[in-house]
């Protein structure tokens, strides 16, 4: 009798193992055929010269060497992208956190404000790009119209926004703040998970709201801040569509981002080897930055607990 149960238990285990693979099989097939294989293939292609019409020709490190030593556009596009990431991500974090802090006050209508702030996040990126092209339009756009008293006061020329290489990058970053509500929702949810007893005991100790914000709220929010930070970095390095629609990478290649250059290498030049090399450089950059951020995460959370 005992033996039989053990035998059937083993059989059950075996069956469960099979069922596990069966249920995971769609994703397992996907991750191998549409994930692992393409990643390895793109690594191989990055060492070849390949235009899709004939077989890939092995060229060793040539693609990488050309990109690093003999391609000004590569560096320009990388610089544009880093500029975008370094400014847009922290700015988005700050605006998202401020909005969440404002809403985290047990006020009436909180969920209505939350909906309104989140709304821009569901808009199609193409529609959003067209809308902001119109808002930033230098002659007839509403933004310059609103600012015209200031222009007049300081006797300034109107800002050209997307049409000047000195302001185009920052204009795209400013537009991105319209979707800060997306991260705000996450911050807000985490803020609302913080036990009120913490604030109450801080109040007993005479803490004001600045102390409460910096000593309790923000330290306890580090998980979601870092989640948004890392996701923002990964997305930021892939910025493409807004420039493709709004500026065509211009003026003077000032918004010609890394992913845009890679897109052109792939779709216009059919330089699949070069484009794959760019993809791998991008992957390495993203991984390094992410690892760095995770390190920082551990440190900051630790400090937060101590403070």
């Amino acid at each position: 009798m005992k033996k039989q149960t053990i035998g059937s238990l083993k059989q059950l285990r075996k069956k469960e193992n099979r069922m596990g693979y069966l249920f995971a099989s769609p994703w397992l097939i996907g991750i191998i055929v549409l994930g692992a294989f393409p990643i390895l293939a793109s690594f191989y292609i990055s060492f070849t010269s390949y235009d899709m019409s004939s077989a890939p020709q092995w060229v060793g490190l040539k693609n990488y060497i050309i990109l690093f030593t003999n391609d000004d556009v590569f560096w320009k596009s990388l610089w544009n992208t880093i500029y975008h990431v370094v400014i847009a991500i922290p700015l988005g974090l700050i605006v998202g956190i401020i909005l969440a802090l404002l809403l985290n006050n047990k006020i009436k209508g909180m969920s209505i404000y939350r909906t309104l702030f989140y709304l821009p996040c569901v808009v199609s990126i193409v529609a959003m790009s067209l809308l902001w092209m119109w808002l930033f339009q230098p002659q007839f756009g509403i933004i310059n119209e609103v600012l015209s008293p200031i222009y007049n006061l300081f006797n300034m020329e109107p800002i050209l926004w997307l049409q000047s290489s000195s302001t185009s990058k920052i204009t795209l970053i400013l537009m991105g703040l319209w979707t800060a509500g997306g991260s705000m929702v996450i911050y807000l949810a985490q803020m609302q998970d913080i036990p009120t007893s913490l604030y109450e005991s801080a109040e007993v100790d005479g803490a004001n709201w600045i102390q409460k914000t910096f000593r309790i709220t923000l330290p306890l929010m580090t998980p979601s801040i870092f989640f948004n930070f890392i996701m923002g970095i990964i997305g930021g390095f892939q910025v493409f569509t807004i420039a493709y629609i709004m500026t065509n990478g211009g003026p003077a290649q000032s918004t010609y981002y890394y992913a845009y250059y890679m897109f052109d290498k792939m779709m216009s030049d059919q330089a699949m080897g070069m484009a794959s090399a760019m993809a791998w450089i991008l992957l390495v950059i993203v991984l390094i930055v992410t690892m760095f951020a995770l390190r920082l995460n551990n440190k900051v959370v630790y400090l937060g607990e101590e403070g």
Binding site: R13, E16, N17, M19, G20, L22, F23, A24, S25, P26, W27, L28, I29, G30, I31, V33, L34, G35, F37, P38, I39, A41, S42, I45, L102, N105, I107, F117, P120, V122, V123, S124, V126, A127, L130, L131, W134, F140, I142, W178, V185, I186, L188, A189, Q190, P223, F227, I230, I234, Q238, Y244, I245, M272, S276, M278, A279, L282, L283, L287, T290
Partner: protein, 289 residues
């Protein structure tokens, strides 16, 4: 000691009132900032080209040009693009729900070899930029002749393509379903397939709703995927159509805003009706991730 304890100028209740008043003013200003672009979009869509040049001078459209919407729809094959968007969205949502639920069930409720490793791999895929797999998949689809079809946008959804987030979300949800429920079903002789369909899926309706909505929004709004993979203009989606509209009638902001409103209207409407499962879903992935 007694001297230092002064009677406060306002009672606590009054202070909260003042604080909330100021907060409401700040929040209302923010709301105006977030909403004004939408409003201006609508006004622009209803203006004549001459009115567009007047800006604030002609804040409201003098004579709302509802015909702009009709014109925008007829200037591009809008209905064709709408049909294409719907075909792709419906199939992608179906495929994602299928692959994400089955995989999440395997990760949440079944013991199988290598499960933990695969789970880490799944989370790692979130960090990989799409560009890294783009070129080989593009080459692959071109070899099997899929570049002239919609399949590159649809088929991956059935194999968990882009679904790592949703798998994670559903796994968390499934793990919250009490063990007793499935165990008693096992004792009654139910198979895992029966448990999955008869217990798990019916109990997970809110999570399925969230995943479906997210997938809908992401697919409806996707521009990059169709741009790369839809070479046949007969398959273009609304996002691509809107861009084509811009390249052809770039100066006509009245018509472009009308077309943009039509493209984003379904997402806005759905968001309004389903915002609860939306916001819960975001916070769920965001915090627990």
């Amino acid at each position: 000691m007694e001297q230092t304890i002064k009677k406060p100028r306002f009672t606590k209740r009054q202070r909260t009132r003042i604080k909330h008043g100021i907060l409401h003013i700040v929040l209302l200003l923010c709301s105006v900032g977030f909403m004004f672009p939408f409003l201006w979009m609508l006004f622009t869509a209803l203006k004549t080209p001459q009115e567009l040049l007047l800006g604030f001078e002609q804040f409201f459209p003098a004579d709302p040009q509802w015909g702009n919407f009709k014109e925008a729809v007829t200037m591009i094959p809008f209905l064709l693009y709408l049909k294409n968007s719907l075909i792709i969205v419906i199939l992608v949502v179906t495929g994602t729900l299928f692959s994400a639920t089955t995989t999440a069930y395997a990760f949440a409720k079944l013991r199988w070899k290598g499960k933990e490793k695969w789970f880490i791999i799944m989370l790692a895929t979130l960090m990989i930029p799409i560009q890294v797999i783009l070129i080989p998949t593009y080459v692959m689809y071109s070899y099997i002749g899929w570049l002239s079809t919609r399949l590159p946008l649809i088929v991956p959804a059935f194999f968990g393509g882009g679904a790592a987030f949703y798998i994670f979300l559903l796994r968390q949800f499934f793990m919250g379903v009490p063990k007793e429920l499935s165990e008693s079903a096992v004792i009654d002789g139910a198979s895992h397939i029966q448990i999955f369909f008869k217990i798990m899926l019916p109990l997970s309706k809110p999570a399925l709703m969230t995943v479906g909505l997210f997938t809908f929004m992401a697919t409806w709004n996707d521009y990059f995927g169709p741009l790369i993979f839809l070479s046949n203009p007969d398959h273009w989606t609304l996002a691509i159509g809107l861009r084509a509209f811009q390249t052809r009638f770039g100066g006509r902001y009245d018509l472009m805003m009308a077309a943009s409103i039509l493209v984003m209207l379904p997402t806005l409407v759905i968001f309004f009706f389903a915002q609860k499962s939306f916001i819960e879903g975001i916070t769920f992935t965001g915090i627990k991730g």
